[in-house]
């Protein structure tokens, strides 16, 4: 009876109660925790201006402007050599982050485009754009027009893997 009444009182919109939760709750700050110690009251903060992540990540110097785009398009080259290129992994990342709009084969016919949620996604072999490794990287890093930046979803090495995979798709489309 007690059990039944307790169960019937339990509401799914609030968490269950805990027994002596001293060891349940963290002493340190948890991710996304609310706290007065930080500006805005949230633990999640942007890294300080100009900070560089550990590892051999280099800051991306080219600016988010038309001139920067042209500069990247003309000069920027992939730092990965042929042994470092991991096409299956690049393909997996591409399918997760790009394929939903650009399509698995890069023709611009991803699921969201077919369902007419997002329109006007160009094919990678579009002559007017004539994308290069540098322009692809610049676009992933900063976004372009309606496309957003993917700099926070992919790290530097992953971005270059995806660039390589996109170039491969482009070559396949141009065949």
């Amino acid at each position: 009876m007690v059990f039944a009444s307790v169960v019937s009182c339990q509401k799914n919109s609030r968490p269950n109660y805990q027994f002596m939760p001293n060891m349940y709750e963290p002493v340190s700050y948890e991710a996304y925790q609310e706290s007065d110690a930080f500006p805005g009251g949230v633990e999640a903060q942007l890294p300080a201006e100009g900070s560089i992540p550990r590892g051999d990540h280099m800051p991306f110097e080219i600016e988010n402007t038309n001139a920067g785009y042209e500069l990247a398009k003309a000069t920027l080259q992939s730092p990965l050599d042929s042994t470092q290129i991991d096409s299956p992994r690049g393909g997996q990342l591409y399918d997760i982050y790009c394929g939903i709009c650009h399509g698995r084969n890069g023709k611009g016919q991803g699921t969201l485009v077919k369902r007419e949620k997002i329109l006007g996604v160009p094919s990678y072999d579009d002559a007017g754009r004539a994308i290069t490794a540098g322009s692809i990287y610049h676009t992933i890093y900063y976004g372009k027009n309606a496309m957003g930046s993917y700099a926070n979803q992919l790290n530097e090495e992953e971005r270059w893997q995806v660039v390589d995979y996109v170039l491969k798709l482009k070559a396949d489309l141009e065949k």
Binding site: V2, F3, V6, N12, S13, R14, P15, N16, Y17, Q18, F19, P21, M23, Y24, E25, P26, V27, A31, Y32, E34, G40, G41, V42, N66, D95, I96, Y97, I100, G108, T111, L112, R115, E116, K117, I118, L119, G120, V121, P122, S123, D126, A127, G128, R129, G143, N145, A146, M147, G148, S149, Y150, N152, Q153, L154, N155
Partner: protein
């Protein structure tokens, strides 16, 4: 004299007709574009930056040709040049080209040299189509809801009728009994009085064996319930809080098939599967400012949610000015309610499970792609963790990291495939330290 005037007029009529005919035919050839073809071309080439009735990356394009001709005196020739090579037109010093370029923050329009004159006519014909009137509220829909209400009423009616029927039956039985008793009285029939034995509880107390058995049974039953009650303390299975923005996993992950890791990208590389920051929402919702009409209707009918209002909540939180198509910089954090939460003394790492083991998100989080409101699918208890570690084989194919240890351990255990438990997945220190 009068006759002469008439003659002159009459001689002019064919000319006039010719002029009218010519203007008509020229205007016909100018608008000869096929709007249906134009729509396809527009959707593939233009829609990334232009919408028909709304400013986006570029200006709205409804009736662009007519508007340009009226307001700026620019003809098709100018449009052709602009579409094929806008940068060239800007460089050539064209006044309006420069004006529009600066007005839109100097975002260069992609050149479309591949579009033929016919293609451009098609596209312009599509943009010249009048705006489609919003469809009147569909009749069958209201009919449908009416039918449902009727169904409810008829169910209630049937239940009510049944209740009345049973009541009548009961009354009838009572009446029959009364009349029978009256008959018996009149005929002088004695109804045999029942033999009054011991009350049942006294009989029960006298039977000591029965008492013992039932006490044991009661104790076992209560122990069972108390145990069940105690072991669900702190377990939040089924926890389904109301979130500040109603986010439907059913629509995003289910219908649109967006990969979990698109938004929860840190699940691949970090301990946490992060809550996506709002810029990730804006990757798509910059363009998707309202949901499809049928989706909106379904949201209101089935879930009582106005999806479009939820998108507006997102815009408010991220500080997106829809009319100007730019960020205002006034943001406010969204206070999402955390659902899955392990106690602090248990260590769990998402990347270990997602990237190394290749476990599907749904294994622990359940059918998220069907959840309109997110809830906790698994109990997240230690027994649940351990059970999975005992049953799951470690994925060692194509993983050089595991080759050596797998060889050694599979020899030791004499098995072909190791489970996570045999690889040390049950050691206390793996999760508690």
């Amino acid at each position: 004299m009068i006759q002469v005037i008439y003659r002159q007029l009459a001689s002019k009529i064919p000319y006039l007709g010719l002029v009218i005919l010519l203007t008509f035919t020229t205007s016909l050839t100018a608008q000869e574009g096929d709007p249906a073809k134009g729509k396809t071309l527009y959707n593939t080439n233009c829609a990334a930056c232009h919408q028909l009735d709304r400013k986006m990356t570029g200006p709205a394009l409804r009736n662009v040709e007519a508007r340009l001709a009226e307001e700026q005196g620019l003809d098709r020739e100018w449009l052709n040049k602009w579409i094929r090579n806008s940068a060239g037109l800007i460089k050539s010093g064209d006044a309006y080209a420069n004006q529009i370029y600066n007005e839109y923050n100097q975002v260069a329009m992609t050149a479309f040299p591949q579009l033929s004159d016919q293609d451009i006519s098609d596209i312009l014909a599509y943009t010249a189509e009048p705006k489609a009137e919003p469809a009147p509220t569909p009749g069958p829909d209201t009919g449908g809801t009416g039918g449902q209400v009727e169904g409810g009423i008829s169910n209630k009616l049937i239940l009510g009728a049944l209740a009345i029927l049973f009541a009548l039956l009961a009354i009838a039985l009572v009446l029959v009994r009364q009349t029978l008793n009256r008959f018996a009285e009149e005929k002088g029939v004695e109804i045999a009085a029942q033999d009054k034995g011991l009350p049942i509880w006294k009989a029960f107390v006298k039977n000591q064996f029965l008492v013992l058995v039932s006490v044991i049974f009661l104790m076992l039953a209560s122990a069972y319930f108390v145990y069940g009650y105690l072991s669900q303390i702190g377990v939040d299975q089924g926890y389904e809080p109301v979130q500040p923005i109603h986010y439907s996993h059913r629509i995003h992950a289910g219908e649109n098939g967006i990969d979990c890791k698109y938004c929860h990208s840190s699940a691949r590389v970090s301990k946490h599967s992060g809550i996506p920051s709002l810029n990730i929402c804006m990757n798509c919702h910059k363009s998707i400012y309202q949901v499809a009409e049928e989706t909106q209707q379904m949201g209101i009918d089935e879930y009582g949610v106005d999806y479009n209002a939820e998108i507006q909540k997102l815009y408010k939180a991220v500080g997106w000015d829809e009319d100007e198509q730019q960020y205002t910089g006034e943001t406010q954090p969204v206070k999402w309610v955390r659902i899955h939460n392990l106690p602090d003394f248990a260590y769990f790492n998402h990347s270990q499970h997602v990237s190394v083991a290749g476990v599907q998100c749904q294994t622990c989080h359940g059918p998220v792609e069907e959840m309109e409101v997110m809830y906790q699918h698994a109990p997240l208890t230690m027994g649940w963790c351990i059970n999975c570690h005992r049953e799951t084989n470690v994925k060692v194919e194509d993983n050089a990291y595991y080759t050596k240890i797998h060889e050694q351990l599979s020899k030791k255990y004499g098995v072909d495939k190791l489970t996570a438990a045999q690889m040390g997945g049950l050691e206390c220190g793996k999760c508690h330290y």
